[in-house]
């Protein structure tokens, strides 16, 4: 599954599917735009104690309490700063609303299936299990993140495992 372009995209439109491109440090990543609810600035995050450092805390999204996750910390990037450019992408996955902190959002891209290459097996920090593949666009390379799989994975400690809640 993970090494294949998304099946959905193939069905809805054989030509392309749309991705929101964001940057983490020097790297470019992209997520399925249908999972994105909104984009907002990074502000007013209440810290939560005794959780991994990439979970920045929770914030108030129009009355809903939403956890904020810093993907830069999760992916072990250096120079993690919070400034005016810091952006939170609010995504809707597995019936949850989660905010992910990124360095910036650049654009929305349409990718055709032949532009999506299978993700190679690599690193510990970002297993290819969480990838939809690699998007290649002329000289750019986009890491297509399967945000749902990433966020619901138990090492994100975002979703309580059933064994734990018992």
């Amino acid at each position: 599954m993970s090494n294949q372009p998304s099946v959905e995209a193939a069905i809805t439109d054989a030509a392309s599917s749309e991705y929101l491109v964001f940057s983490l440090g020097e790297e470019e990543y992209a997520v399925d735009i249908l999972k994105v609810q909104e984009i907002r600035g990074y502000e007013n995050v209440t810290r939560i104690a005794n959780v991994p450092d990439f979970i920045k805390g929770v914030t108030n999204l129009r009355g809903v309490i939403v956890p904020i996750i810093d993907l830069r910390l999760k992916f072990d990037l250096e120079n993690v700063e919070y400034g005016g450019q810091t952006v939170v992408i609010v995504v809707n996955v597995a019936d949850r609303i989660v905010g992910i902190v990124v360095d910036g959002v650049s654009d929305v891209m349409s990718l055709t299936p032949d532009q999506i290459k299978p993700a190679p097996e690599f690193g510990v920090t970002l297993s290819s299990d969480y990838l939809n593949g690699i998007g290649s666009l002329e000289d750019r390379m986009l890491v297509l993140v399967d945000i749902e799989k990433l966020l619901t994975h138990e090492e994100m400690q975002l979703v309580e495992r059933t064994a734990e809640s018992a």
Binding site: T46, R47, A49, N50, I65, I97, E160
Partner: protein
């Protein structure tokens, strides 16, 4: 509107009617039944029968029909009530409930059970109404020792009634053509339509029928409002039976099955008409009026709609607080109207919030009302004599809690009956009245509701509990305080019943009770005195949606403490602080030594005051544990809207939920009991880390 919508309305209504019926039957004084009550019971059965007929639930209809006939005889004084008859009625009610459930789930009800209950009901009808006894001598002897009923002989037998047809004039006013045709169709089920004429304003139908006027009215009222209808007998051509005309009632035992209006009939009316269908017979005009009054003053609303309003009001309150903060910085001289407007807005917003919250509140009677039956049945089964007393029925509790409290409470009541209250002879031997007393009470206490199950039975047996705990492998000591001993019965798998009965004693209950109640944010306490009984006290927050909180500051962060957990706060003095092994500290408050939990250490807050004497000690209590929580500052008390963290995130150690403050930021609400556990865990980790560190250092 879909016919299925009416099904749902019918099911809901039938369920309420059954509950009413049960309550009334329970309250009935067998020797001197109140005629109003009898009428009300009859009407309930009648309404269910009517509805069942409309929707084609034949078995339900037939069962209610049999019951209704007996009830009718009862209310007319032809059938004298006895306890066993009431029992049968109750049993029938249960059966009706089962049938209702079956229909609701789209299946057919149990035919065998129906056969059985209809035999029983028919037997009562035969035996008690002076007709020839059936061939069940043993049971007949047991159940019919009552004196023969004089009225029963006088009463014309069903067959007599049957032939007695007379003319009935029905006048319909303000009925459209479509409804009118339906009505006439309906009337044809009752007998022969002799003539019909008129217009939309007034339409007259003359009918020759053997049926009672009430039956006709009840059926017609499915389609039109009662005030659109007038039914009378045309006296001129009256047949013999009409002598007793003013009080015509359905024939005793042979009233035919209610006609079934075409299924689309109700669909042409609006739901309000259907709601009004318990168009009570004229027999009890007073009760009828009262029932109607209650009907028009309530509406059914799905819970999620209410919750949506509650959420919106919560948002409104937050916005209002934000505005208020801004406005409070303004000069009153130059912005007088604005500041005044803000004050008004604040008051209105709070009132609105309170009113909205009260929508979700339900009286405890909803829970208590199901116990008389349970207690009665159980007491009979156990051979005990029990009087049930309920107090504080009108105490209100949030709907979500009220539904979740039923199971634990049922369990506690069963336990009290089974283990608590003694058998009558034992009670007398102990110098107590033979009748045991079980009290269910509910009352408000601050932001909590206190629900107590009190029995005047034997009390808990300390030795037995300790012995049992030992044999179950729990660590106990003879020196344990009573309170600690009582808490043992909440351990999983614990039961001291000598015999496992089907009532209780399998030991799978109390731990579940405790867990359920803790999940609701409450706790259970047991008070017991040997020989005088046991009190089980459940303490629950009134609602889960709003919390009275004390906001506190630690470093730059704001947290909320549930106000009901806060006992007091004080500035710790150096001489009151004692160190214990390692870095544990105790605070002496009057004559008590309380463990100190430092909030900034438990939650890793940076920039907090580190010196104990600079901090504020808040004495808190949770799950029976008391400790001193060190914080930087107290900010103030406020009511906050509780927001679940688990909706989008997960349970966080030491935190129960979150809320949104006036400035729009999120503040976490501390979980007092869990904070204690978290602190224990952390100091354990610190301790181990220190030890490993020492081990690593020493060889070097």
């Amino acid at each position: 509107m879909d016919i299925a919508d009416f099904y749902e309305t019918f099911f809901e209504e039938a369920e309420e009617l059954l509950a009413d019926m049960e309550r009334l039957l329970m309250e009935l004084d067998v020797d001197d039944p109140d005629s109003e009550d009898l009428n009300a019971i009859f009407r309930a059965a009648h309404s269910i029968k009517g509805g069942a007929g409309t929707f084609g639930f034949t078995v339900l209809q037939e069962t209610t029909h049999l019951l209704e006939n007996l009830l009718d005889n009862t209310r007319r004084g032809e059938l004298k009530l006895r306890r066993d008859i009431v029992d049968t009625f109750l049993e029938t009610k249960d059966m009706l409930h089962d049938q209702l459930d079956a229909y609701r789930n789209g299946s057919e009800p149990d035919a065998e059970a129906f056969e059985r209950i209809s035999k029983v009901l028919q037997k009562i009808a035969l035996e008690e109404l002076g007709q020839e006894p059936v061939s069940a001598p043993s049971e007949a002897a047991a159940s019919a020792p009552a004196e023969p009923e004089p009225q029963a002989v006088v009463e014309p037998a069903a067959a007599v009634d049957h032939g007695a047809s007379r003319k009935v004039a029905i006048a319909l006013s303000g009925v459209g053509e479509k409804d009118r045709d339906l009505l006439v169709d309906e009337l044809q089920h009752f007998g022969k339509v002799l003539s019909q004429s008129g217009n939309a304003e007034r339409y007259d139908v003359v009918l020759e029928s053997t049926e009672s006027l009430e039956d006709m009215e009840a059926v017609l009222c499915f389609i039109i409002e009662p005030d659109q209808l007038s039914i009378s007998e045309s006296a001129a051509e009256a047949s013999p039976v009409v002598e007793k005309a003013p009080d015509v009632t359905p024939p005793a035992a042979a009233a035919p099955v209610e006609p079934q209006p075409a299924p689309e009939t109700p669909a042409t009316t609006n739901s309000e008409t259907v709601e009004s269908k318990p168009a009570a017979p004229k027999a009890a005009p007073k009760a009828n009026k009262a029932a109607k009054g209650a009907e028009s003053s309530t509406i059914r609303v799905p819970v999620d709609k209410v919750d949506q309003i509650i959420n919106l009001v919560g948002e409104l309150i937050i916005t209002q607080s934000m505005l208020e903060q801004t406005a409070s910085n303004m000069e009153i001289d130059s912005h007088g109207p604005l500041v005044n407007g803000m004050n008004l807005l604040q008051r209105n917003a709070r009132d609105l919030q309170e009113s909205v919250m009260s929508i979700r509140m339900m009286p405890m009677d909803y829970v208590f009302s199901r116990f008389p039956r349970l207690v009665r049945d159980l007491a009979a089964k156990l051979g005990k004599d029990v009087e049930l007393v309920t107090e504080g029925k009108s105490t209100e509790l949030d709907k979500s809690l009220i539904e979740r409290i039923i199971d634990p409470l049922t369990h506690l009541v069963r336990n009290s009956l089974d283990h608590g209250l003694e058998a009558p002879d034992k009670r007398e031997a102990a110098g107590k009245s033979a009748t045991g007393r079980l009290t269910l009470s509910a009352q408000h206490q601050g932001g909590n509701i206190l629900i107590e199950v009190i029995d005047d039975g034997a009390g808990l047996n300390r030795e037995k509990i300790l012995a049992k705990a030992r044999s179950s492998g729990l660590t106990v000591a003879d020196s344990m305080s009573d309170d600690d001993v009582w808490q043992l019965i909440f351990a999983p798998g614990f039961s001291t019943a000598e015999q496992v009965s089907d009532v209780s004693g399998r030991g799978v209950g109390m731990d579940v009770v405790k867990r359920n109640i803790q999940e609701m944010g409450g706790h259970v306490e047991i008070l017991s005195e040997p020989g005088h009984g046991t009190t089980t006290r459940i303490v629950l927050p009134l609602t889960l949606a709003i919390l009275d909180g004390m906001s506190i500051r630690c470093g730059k962060e704001t947290f909320l403490l549930p106000l009901n957990a806060v006992l007091e706060s004080l500035q710790p003095q150096a001489e009151d602080i004692y160190s214990m092994a390692g870095d544990d500290q105790l605070l002496k408050v009057r004559d008590e030594y309380l463990p100190i939990i430092t909030l900034h250490r438990a939650l890793d807050v940076t920039g907090a005051k580190t010196a104990v004497t600079d901090a504020i000690a808040v004495i808190v209590q949770g799950e029976g544990r008391r400790y001193a929580l060190l914080v930087d500052d107290l900010v103030g008390q406020q009511q906050v809207v509780v927001k679940n963290l688990e909706t989008n995130y997960r349970k966080v150690p030491g935190i129960s939920a979150a809320t949104i403050l006036g400035d729009g930021s999120v503040a976490l609400i501390l979980d007092i009991a869990d904070l204690h556990r978290l602190d224990r865990r952390k100091s354990q980790q610190r301790f181990e880390a220190k030890r490993t560190h020492l081990h690593e250092v020493s060889p070097a």
